[in-house]
């Protein structure tokens, strides 16, 4: 969570808002922010820390664990129409890679801006060539992309 808070300016630059959610109360969120996260992130957490004590939001997103009473690490990219474009769910001991979230946001933003005329191949990074799906690309992907291009 502090990783996202620390790199929040990168997301803001892309026009992305952030909401974090856990089963802790908003009072506990305040204590965690004030007593620990402010020591890791200048100014503390810059986005709304949502409280889902009954797990209802987590259930709706398929990340609530009934036995442990917690929410798995779930990251959802939601587009301006309110449509879920990407999700990644991990069990608690492994953290996410922030850079991959940014890469996916940039890819989805590019696809949206092109109104679906462009797609991004595996391993695509901003600035690299995209694919233009259409009759001419069928059977010809090898001419513009190959797996070795992924860094």
């Amino acid at each position: 969570m502090s990783a996202v808070a620390d790199k929040y300016p990168q997301l803001q630059a892309l026009g992305v808002e952030v909401l974090s959610v856990s089963v802790d109360s908003h009072f506990v969120h305040k204590m965690w922010n004030d007593n620990e996260l402010t020591k890791m992130v200048d100014g503390g957490v810059p986005f709304h820390m949502v409280s889902d004590q009954a797990g209802n939001i987590g259930r709706a997103y398929g990340v609530y664990d009934e036995t442990m009473g917690i929410e798995m690490r779930g990251r959802f990219i939601i587009d301006p129409d309110g449509v879920v474009q990407a999700m990644e769910v991990l069990t608690p001991p492994v953290g996410r890679m922030f850079a991959e979230t940014v890469r996916q946001v940039q890819a989805f933003q590019l696809v949206r801006a092109s109104k679906g005329a462009e797609a991004t191949p595996a391993g695509w990074q901003p600035g690299q060539a995209t694919l233009k799906p259409g009759p001419d690309l069928v059977g010809n992907v090898w001419k513009v992309w190959n797996p070795k291009m992924e860094k």
Binding site: E17, L19, H29, A60, T67, I70, V84, P93, V94
Partner: protein, 83 residues
């Protein structure tokens, strides 16, 4: 004595001498039915509203207030955990 809890999972209490709960208690409460949708890629994100903490104050967040913007929704196991 039982082993000390380890790792990142938030430990919860359980009743001694009973098998772990097989399923959540039924009947399912009314409020839960409304949220029984599960998010899927390519589908509308389930809307919700909930209390939140934001920069020194308490707020009420509604996901649909963020329509028109890209939104990153991040769930995590709990405050004061280690990862």
């Amino acid at each position: 004595m039982a082993d000390e809890p380890k790792g990142c999972a938030r430990v919860t209490g359980s009743v001694v001498g009973e098998s772990p709960p097989a399923a959540p208690a039924s009947p399912v409460p009314e409020t839960r039915k409304e949220t029984a949708v599960t998010a899927r890629v390519g589908q509308k994100a389930p809307d919700f509203q909930a209390p939140a903490y934001f920069k020194g104050g308490f707020t009420n967040v509604k996901l649909s207030d963020y329509l028109g913007k890209w939104t990153l929704l991040c769930f995590y196991p709990g405050d004061f955990t280690f990862v």
